[in-house]
């Protein structure tokens, strides 16, 4: 027994340590890449007059697709703010995905909608469309409301894609608050990159406790609930560090489901969103990338660090847990569906770097950490652990994680400075100290549950309570 445990201890000490080193080195690389990307973006756009895109007839036309399910408290406000975005050539397609509440009625009433005869080009298969509505009000020409049988978010998006008239699709969550300049900022990469851009994403920020008036963001505040605050830090790290770095090497695997701008033609050629996975946003980008590789067309998936979208983060443990569980399952589903990418040179950066990283670090990381903790527990139980060494190792991880979080806060301060009050900065710093002890274990648990649930075959989305913004 003792030799077995000793062997495990040695294995633990060496190989997991090596794994940890590799992960930390990758973080260093990410920091360097994201710094360069941020600098390039800010310099490139320091002289950009976005207003010229606004009024130009050369600007591409955009179709906004906003699937909505049981959003009655907010839907009118949110659609109104979508109708007054700073852009000229766009249409807003709201898809009512068979809501059981009064979502559709609210829309019909507020916008004076009338059902139309409409021929739908069923390029992608979806659940039945029950009706297409447009407004009697000539000032609301941009708005189209689609009413259909419930089929889930991916299905609703596909229905919207079928009737979209423009070349670019802006797929969003109906309950997200979109910055008025979002389309202006996201559209620019489609016009000024030397290769074809197939998808563009922006930063998603946390809207909890921000002042919101009629679907518009008025003032940014740090959220009140501790749980939401942790998520702020997490989102900042993920978006400002992670995605910027991946964008730099054109290895971005995911464009957030909350907001993304896509080339409609490619989306349709790929068959639209998949209804077979709960991680439909990541899965679509993977498929689009594979398509471009297969047809040997040079392309790019870009990312702008501008805060363009604000979303309500779950402030309740249960709901957050369900969300993370879903993300975990979605990620795993996509990874399995596209396992042919693994170290496949035919797919360039995607196959050689992005996919392996997602599999071996993003997915396996929490599992290894979990196993490590269990082994540590066993060793402690058998009194085989060298406390000095263990503490030194744990201190190393803690210091490293703290340094990364602080760097994130620094990035935020140097770039977009959304949290302008000194108090908010202090709150963020305190959070970074507490995170490894309070938030991280929760996330780890939910990710493990997600993997477990996937193994036992759980498929659903889980209930998301819509409180609506106050």
């Amino acid at each position: 027994m003792e030799t077995l445990l000793n062997t495990i201890a040695i294995f633990f000490n060496h190989y997991i340590f090596v794994y940890a080193m590799v992960v930390m080195l990758s973080y260093l690389l990410i920091i360097i890449l994201s710094a360069f990307e941020m600098r390039t973006y800010l310099r490139k756009n320091s002289n950009t007059d976005y207003r010229s895109i606004l009024v130009s007839e050369f600007a591409p036309s955009v179709s906004i697709i906003a699937p909505a399910y049981n959003e009655a408290p907010n839907i009118v406000d949110n659609v109104r703010s979508l109708l007054s975005l700073h852009y000229n050539k766009y249409e807003v397609i709201v898809v009512n995905d068979g809501s059981s509440d009064s979502t559709l009625d609210e829309l019909i009433r507020a916008f004076d909608l009338k059902k139309q005869n409409y021929a739908i080009n069923k390029r992608i298969d979806t659940q039945d469309v029950r009706g297409v509505f447009r407004s009697n009000n000539p000032g609301l020409e941009r708005l189209i409301v689609l009413d259909k049988e419930n089929g889930g978010k991916a299905d609703a998006l596909n229905a919207g894609i079928n009737i979209a008239h423009n070349a670019l699709l802006f797929c969003i969550d109906a309950d997200c608050i979109i910055d008025p300049d979002a389309i202006l900022k996201l559209v620019k990469p489609f016009m000024d990159e030397p290769v074809k851009v197939i998808a563009a994403g922006g930063v998603v920020r946390i809207a909890n406790s921000c002042e919101i008036n009629h679907g518009r963001l008025v003032k940014v505040h740090m959220p009140n609930s501790l749980l939401s605050r942790f998520q702020v830090l997490e989102y900042l790290r993920g978006f400002l560090l992670g995605r910027m770095a991946w964008s730099r090497i054109n290895g971005l695997l995911i464009v957030s489901g909350a907001m993304g701008l896509f080339d409609k033609d490619i989306v349709i050629k790929c068959g639209g969103y998949s209804t077979k996975t709960v991680g439909e946003d990541m899965e679509l980008v993977l498929r689009m990338r594979k398509y471009m590789h297969k047809h040997k067309i040079p392309y790019k998936v870009v990312y702008t660090p501008d805060p363009l979208c604000w979303t309500e983060a779950p402030s309740d443990l249960n709901i957050l847990g369900r969300q993370r569980n879903r993300w975990s399952r979605g990620c795993l589903e996509s990874l399995i569906m596209h396992r042919d990418l693994f170290f496949n040179p035919k797919y360039g950066t995607l196959g050689l770097i992005s996919y392996p990283y997602w599999l071996l670090v993003e997915w396996m990381g929490p599992i290894i950490e979990f196993i490590g903790l269990i082994v540590l527990g066993i060793l402690i139980y058998f009194g085989l652990v060298n406390w000095t060494y263990t503490i030194i190792l744990l201190v190393m991880v803690y210091c490293f994680v703290l340094a990364i979080s602080t760097l994130t806060i620094l990035y935020e301060e140097l770039s977009f400075r959304q949290y302008t009050s000194g108090k908010d900065l202090v709150k963020l710093s305190l959070l970074s100290f507490l995170e490894p002890f309070i938030y991280h274990p929760l996330i780890l648990y939910w990710e493990m549950r997600g993997n477990f649930d996937f193994l036992i075959g759980k498929k659903a989305w889980g209930k998301m309570n819509r409180n609506g913004f106050r």
Binding site: N13, S56, D192, I392, C399, F400, L402, I409, L414
Partner: protein, 383 residues
């Protein structure tokens, strides 16, 4: 001293004895901790600096704007013969030797110039020159840093500082695409002959964004002084052809129709599409034959626009052809053909209604939609 030495050496030997990974762990911890402290100090200083600059800038901005507001009133006051000379001493009283104030004044005059037209705009330029702020522009144009150079070019174009035209000319073929396009756009403004000759020379693709920048400035100029963009339609550079087509379309250069008809045979699908669309928008009746001729050789994505163009041309000669197309099972083709028939007015509508009871469900839906939309328009949009 001895004690400290002993302590340090025992510490050192203690570390050297440790296993490799623990050593590494200690180093990483120390470095991370050090960086942590450094980041926080950096953060704090940045914050404080930001707060300081903000209040300082606000104060001076107020001063400058007050002066400029008074200046603008004088400009509009017909009793003031020389508002620039009147206000100049006031501006000179500002501590312009301080670089940040001079820069603020520079930027504010530019902002004002950007937002107001007419006499105010001329006088602001005069003030700008009298204060020798164009020296700042010169410095920017000569800067080695791209964003600064570009700002210099943009400002030169905005104020129409023609004496910097030679400097801008040097940048017309700069290796950086961003600088090149701004220089090209600026050169068009500075050089009143509206020189578009660069379109003949440029080998690199002109990106969509650059085309937009060019277009943005061109709409402010007098279209009568533009060349016939059709001269560059046979360029080897596809982006030049694209841009020229867009310009022909926007400025309605109907004389280009013949050239565009020839371009229908161009290998690039994007260009073919543009040509088809323009011929439709121009309602070019003489293009009808060419369009019909090439119809069968095109992919679906190009056939639909051809049908749309035929609808706009509205000659009335292709009704049978359009009806056949309206009956196909392919949605895009059926839709555009039906819409084209609708565009032919009562004749086309009658044909569609006649075909109505023979139509497949998909085609039926299309016809119903189009008929419905026309009804809405005719009855003044319900209400």
């Amino acid at each position: 001293m001895e004690i400290i030495n002993n302590y340090i050496s025992s510490f050192y030997w203690g570390i050297v004895d440790l296993p490799k990974n623990i050593q590494i762990a200690l180093v990483v911890s120390l470095v991370s901790f050090g960086l942590l402290i450094f980041f926080y100090i950096f953060l704090l200083t940045k914050r404080m600096v930001y707060i300081f600059y903000r209040s300082r800038d606000r104060y001076w901005n107020e001063q400058i704007m007050d002066l400029l507001n008074v200046f603008l009133s004088d400009v509009d006051d017909s009793l003031e013969s020389d508002p620039v000379s009147k206000v100049l001493p006031e501006f000179r009283k500002l501590p312009l030797h301080k670089w940040f104030i001079k820069r603020m004044l520079y930027q504010q005059i530019l902002n004002y110039h950007k937002n107001f037209t007419g006499h105010a705009s001329e006088k602001l330029k005069e003030l700008f020159l009298q204060l020798h702020l164009d020296e700042i522009v010169r410095k920017k144009l000569k800067s080695s840093r791209a964003p600064i150079k570009i700002k210099g070019i943009i400002d030169t174009a905005q104020l129409e500082l023609t004496h910097f035209s030679p400097l801008v000319k040097k940048l017309l073929h700069h290796p950086s695409a961003d600088i090149r396009i701004e220089a090209q756009a600026a050169y068009i403004i500075l050089n009143k002959a509206h020189s578009f000759d660069f379109l003949g020379d440029v080998k690199e693709p002109i990106q969509d964004w650059h085309q937009l920048v060019l277009m943005d400035l061109m709409v402010k100029l007098n279209p009568n002084q533009f060349p016939h963009f059709s001269i560059w339609l046979n360029s080897e550079n596809t982006s030049v052809v694209e841009l020229c087509l867009k310009l022909i379309r926007h400025f309605q250069q109907f004389d280009a129709i013949e050239n565009i008809i020839h371009l229908l045979e161009h290998p690039n699908d994007e260009i073919k599409l543009q040509c088809i669309q323009i011929l439709g928008e121009f309602e070019a009746a003489k293009a009808e034959e060419a369009l019909l001729d090439c119809y069968n050789r095109q992919i679906t994505e190009l056939q639909a626009p051809i049908l749309k163009a035929l609808g706009r041309i509205n000659s009335g000669n292709q009704l049978e052809f359009l009806l056949k197309a309206a009956a196909t099972p392919q949605f895009e083709i059926a839709y555009e053909a039906s819409a084209a028939l609708m565009a032919h007015g009562s004749k086309g509508i009658a044909l569609l209604k006649h075909y109505h009871h023979l139509a497949e469900p998909m085609n039926l839906q299309i016809i119903d939609q189009l008929l419905g939309e026309t009804n809405n328009k005719n009855h003044g949009n319900l209400a």
